[in-house]
Amino acid sequence: MTKSSMTTREKVEKSMKRRRAAEQRFRMYGVASVLFGLLCLVVLFGDILSKGTSAFSQTVIETSITLDADYLGLDKNADDQQVRLANFEGLIKQHFKDMVQPDGRKERRQLYSLVSAGASWQLQNMVLNDRSLLGQTIEVALIADDDVDQWFKHDRGHAHNAMLNETQIGWLEQWAEQGILKTRFNTLFFVNGDSREPELAGIRGAITGTFLTLLVTFLLSFPIGVAAAIYLEEFAPKNKITEFVEININNLAAVPSITFGLLGLAIFINIFGVARSTPLVGGLVLTLMTLPTIIISGRAAIKAVPPSIREAALGLGASRVQVVFHHVLPLALPGMLTGTIIGMAQALGETAPLLMIGMVAFVVDVPAFISDPSTVLPVQIFLWSDSPERAFTERTSGAIIVLLGFLVIMNTAAVMLRRRLERRW
């Protein structure tokens, strides 16, 4: 049917080489895209793991030290306040001075800087718990300074370290050979609140703050989200108002999170007078942020309940409310829970709106209640990434590892829940 001399078959055959090549190319683009995505994932995780795993170990100096009651000016009946004011720092300095015999004031300062400021609190806590230790000689693993920690974990044997001079490295090498300088699992990282000393900084405060914030978020957003989803899916009349509400919800799901921060600042803090930097205000803001997600997934879950069940129940003379609460809701609940977990996971990773409402705060005490000042894990990461000490970089990565761990757990839980409870109609 063409004028050309070639038959169709020949023409098709002729085009094949070019087309096969095009096919191969296109396929390669696809493979490359997927691989690129996976590579990004691997690089990201690899980068953070390589930077962060060392945060889970901490260098300590094992030594035996005498808790000289006279030096401390304490007796067995000393009250807590007296213990807190006692000069444990001096005791430690004295101890090391005796141990190394430094030369002159400069060397003494250099020596003292090898031990963390937290070492004195270590001793102080021991005495607070047990007064009978006073006067005894005890074996303790004193926390080393972050510079020592970094040197021992990363730089030992490498080129010259700017934070420590030759003398200091000399002492340290000696201790390392004696075996009193060693690393152990960094428990403090998990039991301490924030600190200005990297070797003392921990994420417990942030984790507790995160937990309280998410608790508020969950308690508010789950019931409200479920109720709203039920209303929109089952009761709302199809009119302009409902449409407006729906548009609103869909839009809120995609609105930049930072605008929720502006809202929290203007409404919750300035108008309602909710205290800044608290899990309460954070939870309120995150509630508004996660509600759309929960409502949308809730509606999807309700939609997935086959209309036949509804019709059957209605046909038996049940009222709409009865149908919803007796039949639809129990069936849709697993789906709604899954959506809620995903929403919570989002809230867990959110930072931007919290910057606006004072969660960027230095909080040492572990918060105990939703009105205590606190920070959350992502904000803690943001804060630490901004700190000058080198050791904070690895702690930032460590905190990221923990955060990612939580996210993985939550997402896995969502997937498991979906698998286990998902019903096929």
């Binding site: 994932l41 930049p256 930072i258 502006l262 409310v321 943001f382």
Partner: protein, 457 residues
């Protein structure tokens, strides 16, 4: 603070009311009367009337009590404080409170009566509160008890109340939107009193620093947000240049080429990228990607800014890949198989089918997905706050440093700026622009996607 115990009490009452209402209904039924609703409905009605008003009152009480208590306290303060300024009164009240809970504040004898009064007041209030709340609950019980009759339409009443509660829940979304608007519009309005909208939207110089100096006449040209818009666009554009082809091709590969095993592994793996918190991306961009790009640029003899738009855009693009790919995946899967068959049946290769049939058919959906992704890129804060610069350069060179709307909002609100300047207000004006732009983008995108879905449903 007896809130918890009160709530528990109310909840117990609520449970009791339920049983009471149900039993009363049953008793009526046993007398041979025909009930309008099931006994449980009467129980539920009773529970609602018993529980709801006290709980609402309790919430209101919680909001109001401190104010009332403080008002009463003021009357107890020494005369000279009462005659003092509002600040003094407030201070004294704060002090009284801290004294009352004994949090280690130095004693103040003149405030002692007030402290005593406060303690007494609080006791009285606690008592009053418990009394009022429990009374309200009991009134609820009593009234509903009397109303329960055979012909009472308990079910419809319960259902009406439940519906109102459900409706109120869905209204929160609207309130949120209104809240966002209200919180940015007012301050933005103040800002536009100082700087004209026209200057703000079309001015090409953004340098709030000079204009804010108290000793300088504010030159309005310094609040031209065009460089911010341009910077935002540039970074979003870079992100899109990465995310759209990669995301789209990945979606195409996974849905059209990959075996189910590859798909079952690669898809969730890619989606992990979407679940990583943005602060982590920010950290990654600032500490890993930016130096690498910098280094690469140097080695090629290029002049790369350390805070290049490229680094932020690249990482943002990576973050958005799964977003684009899973949305596109949905859209591509919605293209009916029959269209593919039609094309294969004519002897088209897979790529020809994808390019000339599937993609054109899915185009509206893909456009919608990309618009949603753009709106996300524009609104993304942490990556740019940590990795992008603050220089309001009006440039389209990706190796330069630019700044974005969100970064400026953050820095304007948490910077070292003076408070009485239009600068803080500018953050809200930017917030307003950001909200409106994403609103329009989202709205249009959702409409497109919706239309597209309907086409193939």
């Amino acid at each position: 603070m007896n809130y918890s115990s009160l709530i528990i009490a109310v909840l117990i009452l609520l449970g009791g009311a339920y049983l009471l209402g149900r039993n009363r209904a049953r008793a009526i039924a046993n007398q041979g009367m025909k009930l309008h609703s099931l006994p449980t409905h009467y129980g539920a009605l009773m529970a609602l009337w018993t529980g709801l008003p006290p709980l609402l009152l309790l919430l209101l009480w919680g909001l109001m009590e401190p104010r009332i208590v403080d008002q009463l306290l003021v009357a107890q303060l020494p005369a000279h404080i009462q005659n003092g300024s509002g600040a003094e009164i407030q201070l004294a009240v704060s002090k009284v409170h801290n004294l009352a809970i004994g949090s280690g504040v130095s004693e103040a004898p003149e405030l002692q009566p007030a402290v005593k009064h406060l303690q007494a007041l609080q006791q009285r209030f606690d008592l009053l509160q418990a009394g009022v709340i429990l009374a309200l609950a009991l009134i609820g019980v009593a009234l509903t008890w009397r109303r329960i009759k055979a012909d009472m339409r308990a079910r419809s009443e319960v259902e009406r109340i439940v519906r109102y509660m459900l409706f109120a829940s869905s209204g929160i979304a609207v309130l949120t939107t209104l809240g966002i608007l209200a919180s940015v519009v007012y301050e933005a309005w103040l800002f536009f009193h100082k700087v004209s909208i026209f200057e703000f939207l079309f001015g090409t110089s953004w340098s709030p620093q000079i204009a804010l100096r108290a000793d300088q006449s504010g030159s309005s040209g310094d609040f031209g947000a065009v460089p911010l818009f341009a910077g935002t666009l540039l970074i979003s554009l870079i992100a899109m240049v990465i995310a759209v082809p990669v995301g789209l091709m990945a979606a195409i590969y996974l849905s059209e080429y990959a075996t189910s095993r590859v798909r079952s592994f690669a898809k969730p793996a890619l989606e992990i990228l979407a679940g990583i918190p943005t602060v982590v991306y920010g950290f990654f961009a600032a500490l890993t990607v930016a130096p690498i790009i910098r280094g690469l640029g140097e080695s090629m003899g290029l002049d790369v800014s350390s805070e290049s738009a490229l680094a932020a855009g690249l990482v943002m693009g990576i973050m958005i890949i799964p977003f684009v790919s899973s949305l596109s995946d949905d859209v591509i899967n919605a293209v009916p198989q029959s269209l593919r068959d039609g094309s294969y049946g004519l002897g088209a290769t897979r790529s020809e089918t994808v390019r000339q049939v599937v993609i054109p058919a899915a185009l509206p959906g893909i456009v919608g997905a990309v618009m949603l992704a753009v709106s996300r890129a524009i609104g993304e804060t942490m990556i740019v706050a940590m990795a992008a610069g603050l220089a309001a350069n009006l440039t389209f060179n990706p190796l330069d440093s630019v700044t974005t709307v969100t970064v400026q909002i953050v820095t304007l609100l948490v910077g070292d700026q003076e408070f009485d300047s239009p600068k803080t207000l500018a953050a809200f004006a930017l917030g307003l622009v950001l909200f409106l732009v994403t609103l329009v983008l989202n709205y249009v995108a959702l409409k497109i996607v919706q239309k597209y879905r309907e086409q193939y449903d």
